[in-house]
């Protein structure tokens, strides 16, 4: 009998704690599949961040460090500078990466740290109860913008991929989505490109993945997926912003 589908070796058997309809599970799997396909599981060190994915070290079946809020790119820098031949990735949410960790991500990218960042953008702080994030859309209701994000008071969302793509030392920057199967597969391809860029020593790579938070958005899972397509993608266009040539991507 031939096994045609199974759990990637880079995932543990532990049951996810994520809410129904949350895309973290899918994105975890995509990262694990890519690590498996590149044969990197035993030479990878992952860095979990603070947010819903703080416990991602329970699910990735490889060496992991859990960083303080926003500091994952600095922690990954420390790891990579000691172990330049290992694969190092961070897995961060949008509050972690774009708000409290904005300095760390900008400077890791500016230095061209040869790491891969998986940036999951669900437009809110999921773990603490759905507060406004730097990625919250104008008008979006959150627990700290009960009347909707007012750009006159709370400003505009940060488009991190666009910002990082302008930097000289970034090698691969893409934004993808997980709202349907086609885009899930495109996300996997982008994650593969990002890890390959690291393998080839090209510098900093990041995939921003648009995701859902049905619990805090107060939507059914399918509605949440539709909301990504109809609202988030308008503000956060899906694009491969930067791809340094020279690799076999």
């Amino acid at each position: 009998m031939k096994v045609i589908s199974g759990k990637p070796e880079s995932l543990t058997d532990k049951k996810y704690h994520y809410c129904p309809g949350c895309m973290h599970g899918v994105i975890h799997r995509l990262v694990a599949e890519v690590i498996d396909e590149l044969g990197l599981r035993e030479e990878t060190v992952g860095v979990a961040s603070v947010g819903c994915s703080v416990l991602s070290h329970n699910y990735f079946n490889l060496d992991m460090q859990e960083a303080a809020h926003g500091r994952a790119p600095a922690v990954a820098t420390g790891i990579k500078r000691v172990l330049p031949d290992r694969t190092v990735f961070t897995y961060q949410g949008d509050g972690d990466l774009a708000s409290i960790g904005s300095a760390e991500i900008l400077h890791a990218a500016a230095r061209g740290e040869n790491i891969t960042v998986i940036f999951v953008n669900n437009s809110c702080y999921g773990m603490t109860g759905g507060q406004m994030a730097p990625t919250t859309l104008p008008g979006q209701l959150t627990s700290t913008t009960p009347l909707g994000r007012d750009v006159k008071k709370e400003g505009y969302p940060l488009r991190m991929s666009e910002v990082l793509a302008t930097m000289d030392a970034t090698a691969y920057i893409a934004r993808t989505s997980t709202h349907n199967a086609k885009h899930v597969m495109k996300t996997k391809k982008a994650i593969l490109n990002a890890f390959k860029a690291q393998q080839q020593g090209q510098g900093f790579s990041m995939v921003e993945v648009l995701s859902t938070c049905p619990t805090n958005w107060k939507m059914k899972p399918v509605e949440a997926l539709q909301w990504v397509e109809n609202n988030m993608m308008k503000y956060f266009p899906l694009q491969e912003f930067k791809k340094v040539s020279g690799g076999d991507q």
Partner: protein, 359 residues
């Protein structure tokens, strides 16, 4: 062989001699000679010097590097050490070894750039959030900057925790003859089987600090406290100077202790039986070294470059068995030996007897 070197550079050289090959820092006066020295030296020995975007980033780079099992150091001065406190709490919780150097300057706030000892509380009470301690070493000469920095790496590796070397602006800037004694380094330290280096050929390792289950978090805290008890029993160090017959004991650390020892000499010349206990470890605090003098000592004078911080630990050590006086200068002012002598005279000079504890 002894060489003449500046204090800040000695810390850098000592780190290299101790096998440290990774340094993450951020410029701040009066310690900038240390990162500058290592920016030049680290590449020469195959190491990494990285100037981080902030002290916050630097201490988190230390976390990542320490998690791979490498010997790693960061340094800063008072305001920068405040910024590192978040990371120090995490390093402690994750039980990661590293060395943190604080070349203290006057505070609070931006304060000034002159030497101070006003981070004693921050250093010895943990500093960040949570129930924890760091080992804190207090050198008082350039030679001790070398010895204690090297020792700090061994202690960090042995106990799996951050160790702080607490100097001050004066010590960082002064030049003295120094010898690097590599033979003093510990040769048998526990293997770092917990390091995250890629799980090839073994079970995966996880370095984390989140315990959502309170029972597990309490277990973790108990484990840390047991370690601290062991450290208290094994690592307290103090130097005593002319204490055997002393009736007045000065307590002072670091630069202040150097000045206070001159005041002790002057007092002795005047016939006042003064002596000094100099804590070399601030945590664990060498309470017993102070307590042992109470058989003959009748009063204590604590001298610091702050408003009275080690004073609390001295009082706890003395347990009310002798009066404890205090003299301190703040703001980056270094006390003069003559000022300390005046304080000694107040206690034990002109009206000597009236200030003494009744036997």
């Amino acid at each position: 062989m002894k060489v003449l070197m500046k204090g800040n550079e000695v810390i850098g050289e000592a780190a290299i001699k101790a096998g440290c090959r990774y340094f993450f820092g951020y410029p701040i006066t009066p310690q900038s000679e240390l990162p500058e020295f290592l920016a030049k030296k680290m590449p020469e020995v195959g190491g990494v010097f990285l100037q981080a975007e902030s002290e916050v980033a630097a201490i988190n780079m230390v976390y990542g590097a320490a998690g791979t099992g490498a010997r790693v150091m960061t340094s800063s001065s008072s305001p920068g050490i405040s910024l590192k406190q978040e990371g120090i709490s995490y390093l402690t919780a994750a039980e990661l070894p590293c060395v943190i150097v604080n070349v203290m300057r006057g505070g609070p706030g931006l304060g000034g750039i002159q030497p101070s000892q006003s981070d004693y509380f921050q250093a010895t009470r943990g500093g960040g959030h949570g129930d924890y301690q760091n080992i804190v070493l207090a050198p008082s000469s350039v030679q001790e900057l070398a010895d204690f920095t090297m020792k700090a790496f061994d202690l960090a590796d042995y106990y799996h925790m951050p160790v702080m070397v607490l100097g001050d602006g004066a010590m960082g800037q002064m030049m003295e003859a120094v010898e690097f004694k590599e033979e003093n380094l510990c040769s048998s330290l526990p293997e770092k089987t917990w390091a995250t280096t890629g799980c090839s050929g073994r079970e995966r390792n996880i370095i984390n600090t989140l315990y959502l289950n309170p029972d597990l978090l309490e277990e973790h805290n108990k484990h840390l406290q047991q370690k601290y008890e062991q450290i208290k029993n094994n690592e307290s160090r103090a130097e005593t100077y002319l204490t055997q017959d002393a009736e007045i004991i000065i307590t002072a650390f670091g630069t202040t202790a150097r000045i206070a020892s001159s005041a002790v000499d002057s007092a002795r010349a005047m016939g006042i039986k003064a002596g000094m206990v100099r804590p070399m470890t601030l945590w664990p605090f060498p309470s017993s070294a102070i307590r042992e003098t109470l058989t003959h000592c009748r009063s204590i004078l604590d001298v610091e470059m702050n408003a009275g911080q080690m004073l609390d630990d001295v009082r706890l050590a003395v347990e009310g068995k002798a009066p404890v006086y205090f003299y301190g200068r703040t703001g980056g002012i270094v006390p003069k030996a003559s000022e300390i002598l005046e304080e000694i005279k107040k206690i034990g000079g002109i009206s000597y007897e009236s200030h003494l504890r009744q036997a």
